[in-house]
Point group: C2
Chain length 318, copies 2
Amino acid sequence: MHELIDSLFIKVFANDALRQKRDSAIVEIGGGRIAFTTDSYVVNPIIFPGGDIGSLAVYGTVNDLSVCGAKPLYISLGLIIEEGFEKKALERIVASIERAARRAGVQVVTGDTKVVEKGACDKIFINTSGIGEIFYIPNEKKICSGDVVIVSGPIGDHAISVLSKREGIAFKTTIRSDSAPLNGLIARVLKASSKVRFMRDPTRGGLATTLNEAVERKSFGILLNEKSIPVRSGVKEACELLGFDPLYCACEGRVVMIVAQEGTQRVMAALRRDVLGKSASVIGAITKEYKGKVILHTAAGGKRIVDMLTGEQLPRIC
Amino acid sequence: MHELIDSLFIKVFANDALRQKRDSAIVEIGGGRIAFTTDSYVVNPIIFPGGDIGSLAVYGTVNDLSVCGAKPLYISLGLIIEEGFEKKALERIVASIERAARRAGVQVVTGDTKVVEKGACDKIFINTSGIGEIFYIPNEKKICSGDVVIVSGPIGDHAISVLSKREGIAFKTTIRSDSAPLNGLIARVLKASSKVRFMRDPTRGGLATTLNEAVERKSFGILLNEKSIPVRSGVKEACELLGFDPLYCACEGRVVMIVAQEGTQRVMAALRRDVLGKSASVIGAITKEYKGKVILHTAAGGKRIVDMLTGEQLPRIC
């Protein structure tokens, strides 16, 4: 259904901003360039280890702006609330939104609330849109063989946190969502190096989907080294038990970068100096050999194609 | 519940943009000033005489920007769709959004879709956020005794259209929603006169709520003349039958203006030249006599206070 809708949108609203299929639209206004993005959050449960629907909504929008090279400034907040939703829970979520906005350094400047009758929505849905000022434009056209692929930290924590809470599964260690604002981390990296050529946050569909989008219809591919991809042991265990692949599990506080080889050291140093990037890792490289494909050099020593989608995306993970 | 939420928001997110309680936030970015707004649409039914949830969402956001003196430019689109929602209906709504955007001269530049399981939302909810370039700032501080109050057309059409469709009530004449983009009309008026000191679109809560907000904690009041307030006979009949007051019924294609007396003629001429303003009417005046209050000079010759709220707002009207 998602693919159907995506293609319907791009077909119907034919414009350059949409066709770029970025996390934010880059648009001209008042003689300057800004980034503009929107996301609706329907995560179930609304509170999970490491976050809640409120902080998730703020950080999600902050990150969509940040990976487009924008400094996030203003956020809008649209709430749809089911009648009878407890006042205490609402206050907790609103307080969480405020804390998250403060942490990320953005202002919630406009909002809207709709209350629908019991049964017409599941507790609370939140839309956050955001605008930011562009200060860096990654030059994706320069991506070439030998560039390195970097991820800022362990993958899949968010998906596993939400799923284990939803299904009531207890693992040895509680996995906390990685949900966090990436604007500070990204600004530090871009200050340290001008060699970043691609940035995305691997949310729905995970690292595998993000990297496949990066190589789609391109003259290069990516060779990943499974051993260097950071995955917490708790996430690995949970994935084995649930039948998931961590490569497809959503993150909400990680950034994937493609960086020119000569920039690797500076980028890695900047990432590792930040608490959000302390486990950053070079996980692969751009190669001409596997045009348009993502190939995994497995821990066992073999190679396999990492496809765009190996099944349905997990529902209501964000 | 709405009031509770509004006060919670303003208390928690203490910033100037929010405190202004406008339809859009006016914010600085890249050295310029832009308007930024958001609205979620949960209207039931999703298709009604004169519009549907798609066109309503686009025009609602366009109008929130327009009444703040901004030229609407870019729209974001966040869809929450119930699993099993028919593809045909979705295509119809998306086509309606595209037509509405084209009519209003705005671009849908970014979007997001979430699908939730059957029963977790009622068919489809739409969030539209929008940004526009400020070209006129109505100077509300200049409002003074003798200024006139103008409405651009008949009130209450939208609410009655949605309600009669929802309840399956047939009136002698089908009332069509007034839902329409006001940016063209407003631009024409502001080109013709610089004497417009206040603009709002009387959506939820209708004309009565909008005017009460205009006089709230102010040193002036408004004296309305019931005979000059345009209300279609079909809306009057429906309101009598349903026990509603047209003054509280939502419009989605009307603008209320407060204009300096010397600007009245030019503003009225500009309004009436446009198909959306051809039934514009001077409906009252600013007075020092009823400080902070809206008073209605009734058709019967008496006077009554038009309160902020005489009951619950109608649910899911937009």
